[in-house]
């Protein structure tokens, strides 16, 4: 248990209700909650008690009267004791009829505790000692004011009017009551008088002091009267007035200055307070210069919020200044917005600024439009630039002597229209995405703009126009045939290119256009727009393909024969002409595949396109025909060495001048017959192998519908082969066969002779030798041709023999023997190359020879045997291995 609290000090020790008392002492507890009770003069004041420290509490006194203890109770110390006393007194007791010797606090009292001061509790006691009436039927204040002008019912007022007071407070009181009240009042006043006496007694000293003072005053006044006359105050008053005037004079100036200073200060205050507004034009200008548009907008918003509705002219003026700057800024931003180049992000920011600044026009739409115009303008610029280049180029071509043009030409050595397309693709890839993005941003609401109706359609039109323009420019430069006349006039008057040039650049161009296309695809453009480019691409690809094939056709046409036969490997017996052809075809297929054929993003296979298919077919046909033409030309070309035809076939027996090897520089070029053979060999090879290879290649690449051209060309080649064969045979067998008859009858030979045959006759030998010659010649070129050629020749020989035999008028016995020997020998030697036809002819020939008896036949056999032995090597030559 803690020691009980004890109060040892009060500050102050007296006061009216509501006095704030500092209570000091000991053992007031260690925390606010320890304080459980506080009474001041017996009145519970715990509610207002404020625990400050273990020896200090602050509390407010209640409505107590007289002296009393201040008792503190704590949780652990219990009820305490008090050494000092507090004296409470009521101010209400001090009225107009009561004197007070105590000091009256003039400060207003505050309420204490729950006992709020009800108005009546401090109302003055009724001087008549009557109860205060109810408020009903009261005479209103205005009426009273009218009855008693300038008076009032307040008992403490100098203008107190008793009648007012009675009407106000005792309006319904009976006369007797009034009388009783009067008696009460009189008694009270008398009582007061008695009280006054005791009061005077109590304060005798003060009263005597007052009397002394009054006496002194009186004495002084009398003295003054004697000195200054009966009316001293007039003079005094005058003096006071005078001094007042003087004082005013002194201070007027100062006061005026003070006023001015005050005004200036006020003005400065205003300036200071609205510094922000007045400095704003400057600040805005500075920030605009620095490009800090965000700050400008922020400031502007603020100032608008603050001063937009102001009526103060100076503010209005400042605001107008600001507005002027803002309008300038808007114009500047708007110009910035439309001046290219500018990135989408920048544009978006500018748009945001403009929106924030309440720009009256649709900034975003302007941005879109300006972008579109920019694209269109760029297209035109590029076009014009290249057009002038083109013109100057063509001018220079005509006038290439000009010395100045040299560098110029080098620069524009790439054709203008190629450069143009390259650039226009680049520009589209570069500019269009931005245009599209800003458009998307606009319509997706990212720019926080209300989208006006019809804008969507207009925008779509813009997009389509831009893309169409692009596409038309490209078409006009490369494939003008896909445009109609008016459009061609509008978009394309660049000089068109040579085919070779186009072929050189087309794949690259295709790539440019494609990269642009893929850029656009990535943008998620509507199909309608993409299809324009898609169509362009298809046309371009077809064009590219056809150009490439055309170029190859041209190259094939330029192919020449070197007449060098390769003897080894797979392609023995042919020259490399067909291989060259094959290579060219392979090359072109490869290029076409790489460039035109392969389908990229959003492209269909070219071969699905009917027109492409047809074009392809045509081009393949062209290529093959070209090669056919080459071969054909080679086979029919006999202009150049007909003269030195050193054919060994010409009969030595007849003594035709032997074509010596004059070798007129054309050493490499083989003889006509050889060439024919080589060409034929190539022809066959081409038909059998190369065509298949080509077909294979095409199919591998994906071209499928080329069977028809392959087939027709195969047939053509076959015909050509036959033609060549015929030519060759004509060349070979005609002289060979032609020599038989003269040789047979050389030296006036007659079958009706009497000389016994000893050997085969020279004409037969010559015939054999000639055939061997042909054999060797053909074998030199290609063994594959031996059969077809030699059989034909043998057939002709057999036919000639039959003809000759049938023409013989008379055989002697010896003659018959000789004929049989010759024919059988030939038949025997040519056995391997004898067709059924030839066999028939031989038989017919033999049938014309008269039959022989046994002895004669034996001789024939004998001689044949001898011959075979002699001609062993020749026979070997014509044997098939």
């Amino acid at each position: 248990m803690a020691p009980p609290p004890i109060v040892t000090g009060l500050s102050p020790n007296e006061g009216p209700p509501g006095t704030r008392i500092k209570i000091r002492g000991e053992n007031f507890g260690s925390q606010p909650s320890d304080l459980t009770g506080l009474t001041i003069c017996g009145m519970d004041c715990l509610l207002t008690a404020e625990w400050k420290s273990p020896n200090k509490i602050i509390a407010i006194s209640g409505p107590v009267k007289g002296k009393g203890d201040v008792i503190v109770t704590t949780k652990y110390g219990g009820t305490g004791t008090c050494n000092v006393t507090f004296r409470g007194y009521h101010l209400a007791t001090i009225g107009p009829m009561k004197e007070s010797a105590v000091w009256v606090e003039e400060t207003p009292m505050y309420s204490w505790g729950r006992h709020s001061l009800s108005p009546s509790s401090f109302q003055q006691e009724d001087p008549l000692g009557l109860s205060v009436e109810e408020t009903e039927n009261k005479i209103s204040e205005e009426d009273l004011q009218n009855y008693f002008p300038g008076k009032c019912g307040d008992i403490g007022s100098p203008n107190f009017s008793p009648a007012w007071f009675l009407l106000e407070n005792h309006h319904a009181t009976s006369f007797n009551d009034m009388k009783a009240g009067l008696i009460y009042l009189i008694r009270k006043v008398q009582h007061q008088k008695v009280g006054q006496l005791s009061f005077l007694k109590a304060n005798l000293n003060s009263v005597i002091d007052q009397i002394d003072t009054l006496t002194n005053l009186r004495e002084k006044y009398d003295k003054d009267l004697s000195v200054f006359g009966s009316t001293p105050t007039i003079k005094l008053e005058r003096a006071i007035k005078e001094s007042e005037r003087e004082a005013r004079k002194l201070f007027d100036d100062v006061l005026a200055r003070k006023d001015r200073a005050e005004k200036t200060r006020n003005a400065l205050n205003v300036l200071q307070r609205y510094k922000f507004l007045f400095c704003l034009p400057c600040v805005i200008e500075r920030n605009i210069k620095k490009g800090e548009y965000d700050i400008v907008i922020n400031d502007y918003m603020r100032v608008k919020n603050l001063f937009d509705k102001t009526e103060v002219p100076i503010f209005r003026e400042a605001l107008n200044e600001v507005e002027k700057r803002i309008v300038d800024l808007q114009t500047k931003l708007h110009v910035d917005l439309q001046s290219m180049p500018v990135t989408v992000e920048q544009q978006k920011r500018l748009i945001r600024y403009l929106i924030s600044l309440d720009y009256p026009q649709d900034a975003a739409w302007d941005a879109i439009k300006s972008r579109w115009e920019h694209i269109t303008k760029r297209f035109k610029e590029i076009y014009n630039f290249h057009k002038t280049n083109d013109k100057s180029e063509s001018a220079k071509k005509q006038n290439s002597a000009s010395k100045y043009s040299k560098t110029q030409i080098e620069i524009i050595s790439v054709p203008a229209c190629i450069n143009f397309i390259d650039e226009i693709c680049a520009v589209t890839s570069e500019l269009f995405p931005d245009f599209w993005k800003i458009g998307q941003a606009y319509f997706s609401g990212e720019l926080q703009i209300k989208i006006e109706a019809g804008r969507q359609v207009e925008y779509k039109h813009m997009v389509l126009t831009a893309i169409e323009t692009f596409s038309k420019y490209v078409r006009a430069s490369i494939i003008p045939n896909t445009l109609d006349k008016s459009e061609r006039a509008q978009y394309g008057s660049l000089s068109s290119l040579e085919r070779d040039e186009v072929a050189l650049y087309l794949p690259e161009l295709l790539r440019s256009v494609r990269s642009t296309y893929s850029t656009l695809i990535q943008l998620d453009l509507p199909n309608e727009a993409l299809d324009i480019i898609g169509g362009l691409l298809v046309d371009l690809r077809i064009h590219c393909m056809s150009i490439l094939f055309q170029q190859t056709t041209e190259q094939i046409k330029q192919l020449t024969e070197n007449w060098k036969i390769s003897f080894s490997g797979k392609y023995a017996g042919v020259t490399d002409l067909p291989l060259k052809f094959l290579m060219l075809v392979e090359d072109v297929i490869q290029i076409v595949k790489e460039s035109a054929l392969s389908a990229e993003q959003r492209e269909s296979s070219l071969l699905d396109n009917a027109s492409a298919q047809k074009e392809l077919e045509r081009q393949v046909d062209n290529i093959l025909s070209a090669f056919y033409t080459v071969l054909n030309n080679l086979s029919s070309n006999e202009d150049y060495d007909d003269c030195d035809n050193n054919s060994p076939v010409v009969s030595q027996l007849i003594g035709t001048p032997v074509g010596t090897h004059k070798t007129s520089g054309a050493q490499d070029i083989p003889t006509w017959e050889h060439r024919l053979l080589i060409t034929m060999s190539n022809c066959i090879f081409t038909k059998n192998t190369i065509l298949n290879d080509v077909s294979q290649k095409f199919k591998e690449t994906g071209f499928t519908s080329i069977d028809a051209p392959i087939k027709t060309n195969g047939n053509k080649l076959e015909m050509l082969e036959k033609l060549i064969l015929d030519k060759y045979l004509e060349q070979k067998s005609d002289p060979l066969v032609g020599t038989i008859e003269p040789s047979m009858y050389l030296g006036r030979f007659d079958w009706d002779i009497n000389v016994l045959p000893t050997d085969i006759r020279p004409y037969a030998k010559e015939c054999i030798n000639n055939l061997i010659n042909v054999h060797s010649e053909v074998n030199n070129i290609s063994t594959g041709l031996l059969n077809s050629i030699l059989v034909k020749i043998v057939e002709t020989i057999a036919e000639e023999l039959y003809r000759l035999m049938s023409c013989v008028q008379k055989f002697s016995k010896e003659g018959a023997q000789q004929a049989r020997i010759d024919i059988e020998a030939l038949q025997d030697v040519f056995q391997d190359y004898t067709s059924d036809n030839a066999q028939g002819y031989f038989k017919e020939a033999l049938a014309h020879v008269p039959n022989l008896d046994g002895a004669q036949m034996a001789l024939v056999q004998d001689i044949l045997k001898q011959c075979k032995a002699k001609m062993k090597t020749q026979i070997l030559c014509l044997k098939k291995r």
């Binding site: 009060l10 007296e14 000091r24 050494n83 000092v84």
Partner: protein, 201 residues
């Protein structure tokens, strides 16, 4: 006090007088509660009372801390009447407060109508030596003239605080014992009072 039990120890009533702001309340609070109050709050009239041991004897000291302000001058009389001893306080840093001590003394003498009422002249704030306006000599001269002791105190450092109260109480006690003797005899003895004054002078 009549309500108190009879065994109550002797009660000595001390009144603090002096101009406003010289440190009457500060001295009182320092003496009563060993605390030094920094902030100035004009007093109206505060009462303090506590038990102390005076020279081995239990006594109670009752301190009436009065208002120094001139506003309250009118009500001083009634206060002074109850006082048995006075601490007449001035600030050594303030000439005027020293001057007004004379007025206070005159008022005390007038109210008490007793030349020998125990008074101590106290020069407070002696810790502020550098701001001293009233010299020790000057003050002790006046005290000598009045026939009272002069003590310099500091409510801040508690220097001589106990001393002034204890000294005053001793004087009160001495006077009371003397009065008891005389009252036991024949009322007030004016000659003795006068004689005492003469002796001091």
């Amino acid at each position: 006090m009549a309500k108190r039990p009879a065994v109550q120890p002797a009660l000595h009533k001390v009144i603090m007088v002096g101009s406003g702001g010289v440190g009457k309340s500060a001295l009182t609070l320092q003496f009563m509660y060993d605390e030094f109050v920094e902030d100035y709050e004009p007093t109206k009239a505060d009462s303090y009372r506590k038990k102390i041991l005076l020279d081995g004897e239990d006594v109670q000291i009752d301190i009436l801390d009065t208002a120094g302000q001139e506003d309250y001058a009118a009500i001083r009389d009634s206060y002074f009447r109850s006082g048995e001893g006075f601490l007449c306080i001035f600030s050594i840093t303030e000439d005027e407060s020293f001057l007004s001590t004379a007025e206070f003394r005159e008022q005390i003498l007038r109210v008490k109508n007793d030349e020998n009422i125990p008074i101590l002249l106290v020069g407070n704030k002696c810790d502020l030596e550098d701001r001293r306006k009233v010299s020790f000599q000057e003050a002790s001269d006046r005290a000598k003239q009045w026939g009272v002791p002069y003590v310099e105190t500091s409510a801040k450092t508690r220097e001589h605080v106990d001393k002034v109260f204890y000294d005053l109480m001793r004087e009160i006690r001495a006077r009371k014992m003397e009065e008891n003797k005389t009252s036991n005899g024949k009322g007030k003895d004016k000659s003795k009072k006068k004689k005492r004054i003469c002796r001091i002078l």
